[in-house]
Symmetry: C2
């Protein structure tokens, strides 16, 4: 049974292409900066950030995966690397014997603290400096709408 495709009109095409280019270049740029300056990809930085903001600088693996927007498998591999680097350590969960708790080490916190200013400067330069205050507001609303739309459905 043939279903009519709702193709993108020229404006939508243009929007989609621009979005793809901008988001790809932005993330590639930040990723490369972070790799160069902090020796880790952006996804790993995100993991450390989430841990640093959690009470006791620790989280259950599942909660950490959720917070960092990572699959369980990806997080397992990532934490293994972060543990090898000495930035995170694993502990058994006292209330659930299946559980593991990822704890940010002091060394991990120090690494994060050293990397943060440069990274924030990058985000500012590459994103916020290019946009007007009104556009920043628009981007926030658009992103919040999208995030809700995507995770809610």
């Amino acid at each position: 049974m043939a279903v009519m495709t709702r193709w993108l009109d020229p404006d939508e095409q243009r929007t989609w292409r621009a979005y793809l280019t901008a988001s790809r270049v932005l993330m590639d740029t930040l990723d490369r900066e972070l790799q160069r300056d902090a020796g880790m990809p952006h996804a790993y930085y995100e993991i450390l950030v989430q841990l640093s903001e959690a009470p006791g600088r620790q989280l259950r693996m599942s909660q950490l995966a959720q917070a960092a927007g990572s699959s369980r498998s990806r997080l397992s591999h990532a934490v293994a690397r972060l543990e090898a680097a000495g930035w995170v350590r694993r502990e058994d969960c006292p209330t659930d014997r299946r559980g593991q708790i990822a704890v940010l080490t002091d060394e991990g916190f120090a690494t994060l603290a050293a990397a943060a200013p440069g990274h924030v400067e990058g985000v500012r330069q590459h994103l916020f400096d290019a946009l007007s205050p009104a556009q920043v507001d628009q981007l926030r609303r658009i992103s919040e709408t999208l995030a809700e739309h995507l995770t809610g459905s």
Copy 2:
């Protein structure tokens, strides 16, 4: 010499977090759909799209890398895979003996044609359906500004 970090204010923080979440979930979703329905990641789909829109359905490797937003190395590896799948073939460039030309095969075009409706539907559902026409316009301007800012500097 200490340089003051221009930290993000709460509004900027919120914007950045929302943007990260939305763009990550959006791209992950489209990537998974494309992998499921067309057997290729989004980056490969992009390569095929660019080839399909080029005159003669072919491009020099460098131009293709530029068009698809890919590094040369990444493109080399990707085209090797696409070639193995029978969707692309390589030809020698007649005017520059260093050059290689990637050509979209009929089979590659057919695969793309089969995948496109589903993918476009995904883009529409996950992105455009969630936004008002005004927001789509805002997103286009923001993205174009950003793309120019990032590639121009």
